[in-house]
Every structure is written in C-alpha cells, then in structure tokens.
Amino acid sequence: MIARLKSWEGFLLMSLVVIIGINAGLSPEFLTLGNQINLFQLSIEKIIVALVMTFIIINGEIDLSVGSMMGLSACAFGWMVKEQGVAAPAAIAISLGIGVLGGALNGWFITRVGLPSLVVTLATLIGFRGLARVLVEDRGLTDFPEWFDALGQQGLIGPLPFALVAFAVLFGVLYIVLERSGFGRKTQVIGTNREVAEFAGIDTNRHKMILFIASGTIAAFAGLLYAARVGAVRGDVANGFELDIITIVLLGGVSIFGGTGSLTGTLLAILIVLNIRNGMALLNITGHIQTGVIGLLLIASVMVPRLKFGTREKTA
C-alpha cells in the first residue's frame, strides 16, 4: 500500500511540476501571486469540502449531499438576512447549525437505520436542494453587509483572503488528525475492514456519525464562503459541486472502496485540477475540454494497479 501511495503521489507530483512548467511558459501572468491566489479562490469552496470528503471516502462512505448543503446554507443565510431581517452573525450561526443538523440527519439514516450512504445522501442531495429552492425560489439575493462581502473578496492576511487561510488551517489540522490521531487511525481501520474495527471494540456508528456531521458543517461553512465571495445567492448555488469534489478526492488516490488514501494526495489533486483549469483558461480552451482532461486523469487514477491482498483462494 505504502509503495502504491508513494508511486501515485509521486506521479501526481510529477504531473503537477509539468503542468506548472507548461503554464509558466504559456503566460508570464501565471506565476504572479495574484494569479495564484485567484486560481485558488475560484474553487476555494470545493477544495475545502474535499478535505472532509477525503475522510468520508477513506472511511468507506460517500456524501453526495455536500453541494446541496452548500446551496442550502448560502440560501438560508441570504433569506434570513435579506427577507427575514435576521442579523448577519446570527444568520451565519444558524446556517452552520443547519449544516450540523443536515449531517446528523445523514448520519442517523446511515448508522441507525443502516441504509447505504450512497442512497441516503442521494436523497438528501435532492432534499437539501429542494429546501434551498423553496427558501429563495429563483430570486437573486444580493447586497449583504459590507464586512461579509469583504470577508469573501478581500485579503485577510496581506493579499490572502479569509477562505484561503481557512483552507490552509483546516488542511493542517485535518492532516494531523488523519495521520497522527486515534480518530484518523480509526477512520482508516473502519474503511479497510469495518468488522475488524468492531471486533476491536471501536464504536463504528459513532465514528461515522461524527464524520457526517463534520461533512455537513464544513459544507455549510463553504456555502457561506461562496455567498461572501460572489456576494449573491440563488437557489442553484453550488449545484453539482459534489461531483467535482469527489473527483478531486479520487484523483488524489483515495480508494473508492475505502481504507487507503491521504490528504497529501488530495492536496496534490487539488493543485493539479486548479492548474490544469487555469492553464487551459489562459489558452482559451473551453471548460468542457478542461473537464474532459480531468476525466482522463481520473480514469488513470483508477487504473493504477492496486497491490492485492487476499488473492489466495480459500481452501476447504
């Protein structure tokens, strides 16, 4: 496994260097700090959610409802502030609370009722989106408090915006959690073999509940970041983001069957996807072709032969 991860991550790193080299050759703009920050900013909400999605998929689950939760939290915020007269800080807290509740709802169906996360989060993908549309319909809500928009659009530390700082902090914390903590270890063991974890006395339901609550909460947080960055919300905010997020995580080498993967891989995949899109945009290549190239990369990531355990047939 270690060899495989190293080789896949090595491949990602090499690809990244090549892509950056090409991009830098294509345009003198590319390596400027402004372009680099911009490159992150355009997808910052997705890549924040991808960090938690890495845990979910390593754990052997999936959360398809994150895009809809981003939309719901952004719409709930807009609706409360613009149409219900709620103060923005309170609206932020309530939106985050919706994330907690939504994640807990997913977790409840998955751990207590025992439904597959694919089905549960497909249902809440529809449900959360429906709620967002009920709240905002097709109105475009805009004109949020100035400090809120500034948080999304201006530098917090020098030129670095709040969302990018949040991403960096979250990455650091989650990296330590996954690689060094008991929680991270349990995430890997449960994803590798849930029964082995249960026989070792690990409460796997509680663990999955925590992960889905974290996923819902971070998605809600990312939805608020989106509202702040764009300065407007509509019912279709973040529509379909879940697929981009899952693509990044799988491209990073996390096994869709759970168990193996790392945040380093996810980070490399993030950088590759962002740089490909940026470079192609510099070349005026359309978004569809960009998506196609990323699709090819994803297929490559799945085709990398896995080290097999347990190929020996069972006797008698």
């Binding site: 063991v189 168990g259 355990f309 347990g310 069972k314 006797t315």
Partner: protein, 500 residues
C-alpha cells in the same frame, strides 16, 4: 462394476501459494455407485469437489471422464460433460418458478422458450426423482428439501453422469434427509455416479457402496462399505502419525472460577451450554463444522448476545452485549477468520497490534504516541518471533503463520484475563503451530485463562485440560483430556456415542 470409471482423478494435486490442499489424489467413480467421501474439516474435500466441477484447475495431475483426460475449464464445462454438484445451501432463484429454476442454465433453449414443453419436461424430471411438487410455484417458500430437489432436477435436465452432493442433509430434518438419500440411491440405480459427502457417519453407512477417507489433502483409503467399521473409519480420518507431534504439558489450572456459564442459549443457534472455566485452565471446544462453537464464542464476546442463560465473570453476573464491553472486562477474542474479522490487511503490523489497545497510546489531545506504538510492536515481534523485517510493513504481505501471530499479539497486548482463540493454527505450518501452542501455554501459566476452539484433534488433546464437545448447537459433554482419545472425541462429535 464396469472397468471404465465415469470420472477419475489421477494423482491430482492442488496448492494455494505455500499451502498444499490436495496432494497426489486418486479417485475413481463408477456408474451406479454411491461413493462417500469422508474426512475432517480441512481435509481437502471442498478442494476436491471444486476440481471435479471445474471451479479449480489442478496444479498437477489429470482429470478423466469416461477414460479420456479432460480439462474442465469452468463449472459450465463440467456441467456439459455431465458433472453437477448440489450443496448444503441450494441455489435457487426465489422469484422464478420451479420450471424456470430447473431450466435456468438451459443452453439448448434457443431464442424463444417453449414454455409448455419446458413445463412438461420439468414435471417429468420432478416425477423421476419421486417428488410431488407444483412446477408453476415460485421457488420462494419452498422448503430446503424441495429446493434441493429442484437442484437435482436441474442437474438431471442436463443429462448428469456424476452428481456430487456436498453435505446435502446437514440442514434437513430426519425425514427430509431420508427422502434425499432415497433420491440419491435411485439416481445411482439409474446409472449415475453419486458422490456423497457427509459428516454424519451413520448416513454414510446407510447409503454408500464405497467409502473414501481423505486426510490432510491425501487419499488414505477406499473400501467397500461392508469392509469398514465406524472405528476404523474414524481412525483413518484422524490419523495417528500427526498426533504424536504435540506434547502434552501439565495443567496450570487453579481453583478460582473466572467464567461460569450456565444454560447459555441463543435461540435457533445453540442451546444449554454449561461450563466453568478456571484461572490457568485451557478449555478446548471440539466438534465438526456446524457444531456452532464459534457462535458460542461470539456470544461470550458480546458480538451476538445470548438470548437465555447466565454468565458470571469473576463472580459477577454479566450480560455481554458488545465487544467493547467484553474488552473492558478483559476478554479477548482471536477470530478464526483472519481476513474478514481479524486483521486490517493493508495497514501496517504496528497499527494492527495496537488496534485493540489504541486508547493506551493516545495523548490528551488524541494523538497517537507513535514511538511507543512502534516499540510495543517491535517487542511483540521479538516475543512472538514474527518474521517481518519492519513493523511498518502491511500485515497482508506476511505468511499465514506470521499473520496469525500478529493477530495474537493484538489481543495479548491487551493483557486479557480470558483469551478466546478460534482455530488458532488453521492453515499455518507445523513449526508456527508449535509456537502458537507455546504462546497459549505461556499465557495460562502467567495467570491467564484460555478457551480454545479447534477442529484439529491432536491440538485439542495437546492443549486442552478439558475438552467440551459440541454437535449441532448442543453440548455433548466435557471430557478430561487425560482420558480422551481422538477416536473418542470424534465419536461424540459425530453422534456415534455419548461423552463419558
């Protein structure tokens, strides 16, 4: 008996990696005979069936059908040559009716199924095996015996010449089992070679013409049933040579009762299990597959809680409802299934050894003390003689014996009071077996208590201070190992005699 066998294995061997499942196996099946194959769990019966039905390819040797060498490249190829098998759990499709189930794999159906002629043929087949069964009924709701009849009819529909029946009666009632034996007999009379595999020796004596005994993947004997006695057959099954390898050690049992079990029952699975386990004692549970020994262990470990009966652990009445609870009480369970329940194969040895005791390595912030984790893993590697260059290696790449030791290390690291070990040496080589035995003995000499489930009779006799024999979910008796013999245990486990 004609001179050309319907099907023959000629010096067939099959190995999986380092494990030899079948060695130099020779077997001849003649038309019109019921040929019983008996052997202990793991003797190689399943591998043999899989070779005859084309699921496995022999590593060496030859399969012959009608005297000519053949290569059975899969179960379909075997069926086309007239070899079919039915198993303990019949394979029927619940949403299809009986007719459709019989012709499920019909290869001559063409594009359009002629429903009426299929129905007629289905009726004829069911009639031929002497059953009454509505062929338009959905298979859902058929009894196990009826489902097996459907399977047999399916085999007959393809002009079967060799019918292999693998433990066909182990889930049937006495009446249904008698019915199935009658069907097997009548098929043989019609010229089919019937292979009959059963743990029920009385059944073998009733139905078989000839009996082949296999042990450790080798052919031991093939004789007409009239020349065989139950005692002789059991002696062949358990063998004598292996038994001498393990040496009996003096018991370390003390007075204190660590675990007291009274009338433990899990409805429909096992019932009325009663024993006391003393500190320093090794109690072995013997029995055949289906004796439900593992289920008793899983109840004691809280995985599948018992539905009735009493448990007292160190004098306190307890109800075990989860592994976490059992672990907190100092009970460890080493599973028989390394792959499924024992180890996280892709993860390092280190992470597997610390898994049941992870909380001990955590800082107040929840971070793992990796140095201590690594030191512990290296200490156990040393102590258990685990052959691995580095404890950061994935446990999945180790040999079976070393994996087994990692699994033991995981539970020994917990320093349990009661160690339940399920098939501690299955599928590992003789050297590793002796090492595992020494570990269990050292554990009880150090004040631990062990409950060992094993199908390996020499192991049971060498390790156990007492032997609890189970059969089909019932406790048949507890035998003092000083007075036990392999033959005696096997006779109790197969229902041939009562425990003393």
């Amino acid at each position: 008996m004609s001179a050309i066998p319907t099907l023959a294995l000629r010096a067939v061997s099959k190995s999986f990696g380092m494990t030899v499942a079948l060695a130099d196996m020779t077997l001849e099946l003649f038309p019109g005979e019921v040929h019983a194959i008996v052997g202990e769990n793991g003797a190689g019966k399943s591998t043999m069936i899989k070779i005859m039905t084309g699921i496995y390819q022999p590593s060496s040797g030859q399969v012959e059908i009608g005297g000519a060498p053949v290569v059975l490249s899969g179960s379909k190829a075997a069926r086309l040559r007239g070899v079919a098998a039915i198993y303990q759990e019949p394979m029927v499709f619940p949403d299809l009716d009986v007719t459709e189930n019989i012709f499920i794999s019909a290869t001559d159906a063409g594009l359009i199924l002629d429903r009426r002629s299929m129905r007629r043929r289905a009726e004829a087949l069911i009639d031929r095996i002497g059953m009454t069964l509505d062929v338009d009924r959905e298979a859902r709701g058929l009894t196990l015996a009826e489902q097996q009849a459907v399977e047999i009819a399916r085999a007959l529909s393809q002009d079967v010449r060799v019918l292999i029946m693998d433990e066909p009666t182990s889930s049937l009632s006495a009446h249904e089992a008698a019915e199935l034996r009658r069907i097997a007999r009548s098929l043989a009379t019609a010229g089919v070679a019937v292979v009959y595999i059963s743990h029920r020796l009385e059944e073998v004596f009733e139905i078989a013409d000839r009996v082949t005994v296999i042990r450790d993947g080798r052919h031991i004997s093939t004789r007409p049933v009239s020349e065989v006695t139950p005692q002789g057959m059991i002696a062949d099954m358990v063998g004598r040579a292996v038994g001498n390898y393990f040496t009996k050690m003096p018991s370390a049992a003390q007075q204190e009762v660590v675990l007291s079990v009274r009338g433990l029952t899990r409805t429909g699975v096992f019932e009325d299990i009663t024993f006391d386990l003393h500190r320093g004692e090794v109690l072995c549970m013997a029995g055949l597959i289906g004796a439900r020994r593992t289920d008793v262990a899983l109840s004691l470990f809280g995985v599948h809680p018992a539905t009735a009966g009493e448990l007292r652990y160190k004098g306190q009445a307890v109800r075990m409802t989860s592994p976490a609870q059992a672990i907190a009480l100092g009970i460890a369970y080493v599973s028989e299934d390394r792959r499924k329940l024992g180890l996280a194969m892709p993860l390092p040895i280190r992470s597997n050894i610390s898994l049941a005791t992870l909380a001990q390595y955590l800082s107040p912030l929840g971070l793992i003390d990796r140095r201590r984790e690594r030191d512990t893993a290296m200490a156990y590697r040393e102590r258990l003689n685990i052959r691995a260059p580095d404890v950061d290696m994935a446990v999945g790449v180790l040999s079976g014996g070393n994996q087994q030791k990692v699994m033991l290390a995981k539970w020994l690291a917990m320093q349990p009071d009661l160690l339940i070990v399920d098939e501690p040496t299955r599928g590992i080589d003789v050297g590793a077996k002796a090492e595992v035995h020494d570990l269990i003995r050292a554990f009880v000499r150090g004040g631990g208590t062990a409950l060992v489930i094993s199908s390996d009779l020499p192991e049971v006799l060498a390790l156990g201070d007492r032997i609890l024999v189970m059969r089909e979910g019932r406790q048949m008796g507890i035998i003092d190992s000083a007075r036990a013999t392999q033959e005696g245990i096997m006779a109790v486990a197969t229902g041939q005699s009562e425990a003393a």
